[in-house]
Symmetry: C2
Subunit: 507 residues, 2 copies
């Protein structure tokens, strides 16, 4: 069956087409059926939607968002044929039965995910099966390999370092300090990171306030070979592309199956050519990992997976029960990171975490003796060499022309939230803070966010400023303020029952 | 936010709207986000799609298929607001963790399914969680109750009977014989059945060849009170409507989680007011249930669930390893059922199964002594009273004017498939037969299908007709023939290794 192509400006699904209803009925096709679309030598599987008026007989509607990617122009002719049901649906059903998958089966599945051969329903079935039935370390290693192989990769000579936080704690801008500190000591770190999905700011969102982050693999390699490190956006390069497709269904469900988390993180590091990796697991109330037992289990899994992939992995279990530092939101976090690099007074939690992680990198890279890494990192930071290296990275990536913390533009409108009583901050809700920052406009509105004046354990008097909300929109600021009054992220208690240290470290 | 309504002729999702991209960005909405759509006093949750050209600013696109159902006209004004994440997503996540759900939680979830508050991704997560983590009998009973309560119901005085086959075996037209036989003895049976989803013909498709099946609840009640029984289409009445929504994601995955199967079947029977129910579990190779252990477990669950719901349930485990009778496809099956009712020679498997199930109904309804039901049913069938009652049912539902098996119009084109060797039919593939019948056009093309000349255990000589394919389209017939040669549903073996009885029964 041959059809003329018509462009449809609608964001529905990259793997969808619209057929005339009569054309479809004649061919025994129903809405939701899968067909193969032949584009010259290539073919891809798409889902059929039906319309009587939208496309005429003999026409086929292709969504604008995928027109270019498919290499099509309006008026082109494509051929379609009934599609076979992808074999990887049976692989998903095997996992649903709790059986162990084979190396080939997993590769087939990942290939189909990357090629958009699976519908959202099928992809969800995969993710939920992994969440409920689990995977053993063989399967996780095969999954990681398959994710690496189905994307682009970078090759380096010698030792390549990387750091990665599994996320879940707001304000976690440590990489902007740890990465230049390690690079200043001579380590090579092609760090890529993600934009926010459900958080107020991903590392890529924060870095983008100061420099371009959409770098090609060639550019990343070039910068790493000359300057020593990047802080780039992983989404601009085709690293383990299965991950983005999988996240599309994980996100609305708010789940992050451990086997998938392990494979996704390690596949991206492996694809970048890293062979020495430090993983940060923030742990605490309302973080992704809530207790030590869970954190240690995950840490062991990262280390074992690293061994199987020929990578040395070190894990830092860090305190994630409240934000790292005081800033939440892209511009405010960039400002706070610059302040730390400039030696200005900032929250000790930020300095301690950043230098601890940099310290592990330095020890693994032979730049500091075992147990002395953190002290060496602190000295590099204090000396101004971290700041100098950070400015070099910004310059190499494409600077926005901001060179000091004072120059960072934050939200034009801001409003303080004050305490209604005397006491101590007993609890501080990560989730409530993220919610408020997102209502204020984070991460899209880079100037939007929160600056925390009071953190856990701090003494508070009635009328004291607890935090300040920033936004580029007066309306959004009002909405965020209302949310703040409703959610009250700070729980003020009459006395301190237990002082919770703001930072834990474990090698 | 208020918007003008625009009609969009596209079958995408009933619970979707199209927003102008700039309108959405201004309001912080992304493609895939969930919003509440206020239609006068009612509100419903919909998913946002984006377009720059399809709808102007201030306009909102509503799909044609849901326009009427939402009670909207083009040009109407609707208001939208950010939607809260439905609480039942947390219920689904609880099931993902393998925890037992509460009565209220299950009700909330079913309510959200019926109200279209869940996306396909969320619905899939529910179905896969039930498939992998299971449910105990408390949960299944609560699920059944919730499915009944969220739909329409029918009330009768006294004993109401029903029969239901869990499906999976082609040619299963027994209800067209068993139901009028039981009704002829004075039992009341408001039977509803479904159309084919993945099979060649549902009972509703078969019955529709002879009579209207889209009856209202009032009409069903009226016919049952006067004639004694219906053979109606369940889709025309709002019985346990959660089931149809759930099937939408089960079907592409080819799964049918047992707890959901139990609840869906029993909820529909309960909603129709039935209190005495016979469940048919076809068992055998390529049927839904493959062995006795599985069939007995499912039978016990049906009986226990019935007890909890105040319904008496009896289960027949029947042979499902090959088609029931010889006909597959709506018109051919209607023809074969009429032949059986007319006393013409038909496959004994059809007579045995139909009268065995009618016999159980007769025994449960006090119309035959224990152990004598089948003989009584055979006598009613032989006497012509079953046929008479069946014609009364057809008349009451709205006859198509077909009164005998000779008058049933079958596919204009037909072609024989012959044996290439001598021997015996060792295996007969249900799946291959259904595939061929569907390619020929079943169930949409009512005249399309297969008439089997040879079944398991039959002696075959080279050149003998194995089966005949029917279709209303010459092109489809050709395609079906090619599929038949490729799939070869009959496996001809040199000698009979084991004679498999064509029918099993268990009370």
């Amino acid at each position: 069956m041959e059809f003329r192509v018509k462009k449809v400006d609608l964001e529905i699904g990259e793997n969808s087409i619209i057929m005339n209803r009569e054309d479809a009925v004649e061919r025994g096709l129903n809405a939701g059926d899968r067909v193969r679309l032949f584009l010259g030598p290539r073919a891809r599987t798409v889902i059929v939607h039906l319309s009587s008026t939208f496309v005429s007989r003999g026409e086929i509607g292709i969504f604008a968002s995928s027109m270019e990617e498919m290499g099509l122009k309006p008026g082109d002719t494509v051929r379609i044929a009934h599609a076979e049901r992808p074999a990887s649906i049976d692989v998903i059903k095997k996992k649903m039965r709790g059986e162990k998958l084979g190396r080939e089966e997993i590769f087939e599945l990942v290939r189909d995910i990357v090629d958009d051969n699976l519908t959202d329903v099928e992809l969800t079935a995969y993710v939920v099966s992994v969440q409920t039935m689990g995977m053993d370390m063989d399967e996780i290693a095969w999954l990681t390999e398959a994710m690496v192989k189905t994307g682009d990769t970078l090759d380096f000579e010698g030792e390549i370092f990387d750091v990665h936080s599994i996320g879940g704690v707001p304000g976690n801008k440590y990489a902007l300090i740890a990465v230049p500190t390690a690079a200043a000591a001579g380590l090579r770190i092609p760090k890529t990171s993600s934009r926010a999905i459900s958080s107020a700011a991903g590392t890529a969102d924060v870095m983008e306030v100061l420099a371009r982050v959409d770098l090609s693999l060639e550019k990343i390699k070039e910068i790493v070979e000359t300057v020593g490190a990047t802080l780039a956006w992983g989404g601009a390069v085709n690293l383990a592309p299965a991950d983005d497709k999988i996240i599309r269904v994980e996100y609305p469900l708010g789940i992050d199956p451990r086997p998938q988390l392990l494979a996704s993180v390690m596949a991206k590091k492996k694809a970048m050519g890293a062979n020495v990796v430090v993983i940060d697991i923030p742990m605490g109330e309302e973080a992704k990992v809530e207790n030590y037992a869970e954190a240690r289990k995950l840490a062991r899994d990262f280390i074992e997976l690293g061994e199987r992939l020929g990578m040395m992995v070190d894990v830092a279990i860090t305190y994630g029960g409240q934000p790292v530092g005081r800033a939440i939101g892209p511009a405010l976090e960039a400002k706070e990171a610059l302040m730390a690099l400039e030696g200005k007074p900032v929250s000790s939690s930020l300095i301690e975490k950043s230098t601890a992680i940099a310290g592990i990198l330095l020890e693994l890279g032979g730049k500091a003796r075992r147990g002395e890494g953190k002290a060496v990192a602190k000295e590099i930071l204090r000396s101004g060499r971290s700041r100098e290296k950070f400015l070099e990275i910004i310059e190499a990536q494409g600077s926005r022309g901001i060179e000091s913390s004072e120059e960072v533009p934050v939200g034009k409108y801001h409003e303080d939230v004050t305490s209604m009583e005397d006491g101590y901050v007993g609890r501080l809700s990560n989730k409530a803070l993220v919610r408020i920052a997102r209502i204020a406009g984070s991460p899209r509105d880079k100037g939007a966010g929160i600056w925390l004046n009071k953190k856990k354990g701090d003494r508070v008097e009635k009328g004291d400023v607890l935090f300040t909300i920033y936004s580029s929109s007066k309306e959004r600021l009002e909405m965020a303020l209302r949310a703040a009054r409703r959610l009250m992220p700070h729980k003020i208690e009459g006395m301190i029952l237990e002082r919770i240290p703001s930072y834990h470290e474990e090698g």
